[in-house]
Symmetry: C2
Subunit: 193 residues, 2 copies
């Protein structure tokens, strides 16, 4: 059921770093992206894949993790992603990528979850450094980085409280809590017969 | 398998308009959106639901369909969507919705597909008219309209040819063909051990 998968598909930031991830797996995820909808069917997105220790470390150095967890600089060695999919927008095809990267990001993370993997869409990126490391040509805009690996964290969904605070937090057992707004708050009107 | 669902989840523009769609079904789809990832977990998206003939007709009048099919003004009466989910961005929460609407759009359309429904994310909207019809407050930005119903069209994926033409087209049997770029064209680099 897609609802189980969507529920299970929590943004994950701690992984079994030594759990192997191969190119074939990453390519299968990009194939899900390839077959997803694209505004005007332009398909302006391009991808760089990485699942190799040295390159992973370089990509990791360009990423900022979990902005609300002020005392947590990101996953420690041994708990870092086993691989990455960098999502790029090809400006030779379009200047406007709409929300295509969200569509494909969700396709790929749902696909990863089904394979027992998990991931996180990261938008807080040192783009200048990443461009240099990966030799990304100037016509390719860095949109998102998907971090992927075997999950080593428990994530719990809860309901946003009366104070409206949506910041995720970690408890004493390092369980990651994510407050989500209730349905009645996000549906502003319904028209039915 | 998510790959079967992603493959089956083609943008659909012709429906069995009289196939009933109820509010409960639309709410279940929004619940998938609610549980999907959101940049900084801000969850700035809001939703308006419609599955009622008169309101459906009014929403339909604000939408432009299938830009590449110059001779097709959109689905005729009897083949129009049985319902809509309007995706809004609440500017009181954030000024920047990133690609959140793509993430939730994909969650909802995959959920619809699993239920035997299909849909289309429409971005070509007469926003001024829609705002008036639905009484949308000024702090809510109209991002996308999801059209939903029981599919009444066959869609075929094919590979983009040497000419690079990505325009979808319809054959003499009214089958809708969608050219997708091949994997080797969209993966620009791979780093594996």
């Amino acid at each position: 059921m897609i609802s189980d998968l969507v529920k299970a598909n929590r943004s994950c930031r701690r992984f079994y770093e030594d759990h192997p991830l191969d190119l074939k797996t990453l390519e299968a995820l990009v194939d899900l992206a390839r077959l997803s909808a694209s505004g005007g069917n332009l398909q302006p997105l391009k991808y760089i894949l990485a699942c190799e220790a040295r390159m992973n470390a370089e990509i990791f150095s360009c990423l900022a993790w979990a902005g609300y967890l002020k005392d947590w600089p990101g996953p420690e060695q041994g708990q870092r992603p086993a691989g990455y999919i960098v999502i790029l927008g090809d400006k030779n095809i379009s200047q406007d990528f709409g929300c295509d990267h969200g569509i494909v990001g969700q396709s790929m993370l749902l696909g990863a979850r089904e394979k027992g993997l998990a991931g996180c869409m990261l938008g807080s990126i040192n783009r200048k450094a990443l461009r240099k490391i990966l030799n990304i040509e100037s016509h390719l805009k860095i949109l998102l980085v998907l971090a992927i690996g075997k999950p080593k964290e428990e994530v719990v969904i809860e309901t946003v409280g009366a104070d409206g605070n949506i910041r995720y937090w970690r408890d004493a057992e390092a369980v990651h809590h994510v407050p989500k707004r209730p349905l009645q708050e996000i549906i502003v009107a319904s028209h039915a017969s």
